[in-house]
């Protein structure tokens, strides 16, 4: 049975280290190295995107919730934010960044890693970024 793993952090880029440590502690020996590292990157990019964009105007205490579920054939990751609705999708379909760009690769990475990606408002004034990655 899948079991949801959960962490909540504050709106602060320095929380990334804690997220990575938490992710490292989830023992999922059935997940390939490649899938594991791609999920790690996706979680990091999803989180920093919330801090830099969705929560840009919000206080540091504003919580960011992260869930991950390991299923037999796929992995689901969810990241909840309190930002203005649809602030992510404004940028989701723009062209990939130029090779020497110094920013703007986060969403392109999410699109590359996730087989399905969705960003939806939920009923308690939050938005949920859903990333579904098929296992290789």
């Amino acid at each position: 049975m899948p079991h949801t793993q959960h962490i909540h952090v504050s709106t602060n880029l320095s929380e990334l280290a804690r997220i990575l440590k938490w992710f490292q502690s989830l023992e999922q020996s059935s997940v390939t190295d490649e899938d594991w590292m791609q999920c790690q990157i996706a979680l990091a990019e999803g989180f920093t995107n919330v801090v830099r964009h969705a929560h840009r105007e919000l206080p540091v205490e504003t919580p960011i919730e992260i869930d991950i579920d390991f299923f037999a054939a796929h992995i689901e990751m969810r990241i909840w934010d309190y930002g203005p609705p649809f602030s992510l999708f404004e940028n989701l379909h723009t062209d990939p960044p130029l090779i020497d760009a110094e920013s703007g690769r986060g969403l392109a990475l999410l699109r590359k890693i996730a087989n399905e990606i969705d960003y939806l408002p939920v009923n308690d004034q939050r938005n949920c970024l859903l990333l579904i990655k098929r296992r290789s």
């Binding site: 280290a17 490649e34 790690q40 990091a44 020497d100 110094e102 986060g106």
Partner: protein, 110 residues
């Protein structure tokens, strides 16, 4: 003529929080007359796209000064980030520190 080489170790999590310090370090190396900056990634655990953005910013500074920025001992996660963002080809990457030293010695001998 000998090349002035500086080694900058990267460690832990390299992300946007380190970008300003990283660029300042690069600036200081260039100012002190460094020809080649080697970013030793042996102790680097994780890099995100903001960290990569800082690396590319540093690379541009170094190239603008007519110098070189190279990497060594990149772990699998960083390698994957470079591949997923299609940026591996902008960096010269050595397997480890000794491969870098060897290449430098070969260059000097030729």
């Amino acid at each position: 003529m000998t090349l002035n080489v500086s080694v900058m170790p990267l460690s832990g999590v390299f992300d946007g929080t380190q970008a300003a310090t990283f660029r300042e370090n690069i600036r200081q190396f260039l100012e002190s007359g460094t020809d080649v900056i080697l970013l030793d990634c042996q102790e680097l655990g994780f890099m995100d796209s903001s960290g990569l953005g800082a690396l590319i910013s540093g690379l541009k500074m170094v190239r603008a000064a007519g110098k070189q920025l190279q990497l060594c001992a990149v772990n699998k996660q960083v390698g994957m980030l470079l591949d997923l963002t299609d940026t591996r080809r902008v960096f010269k990457i050595f397997d480890d520190r000794s491969a870098f030293d060897q290449a430098l010695a070969d260059d000097f001998a030729s």
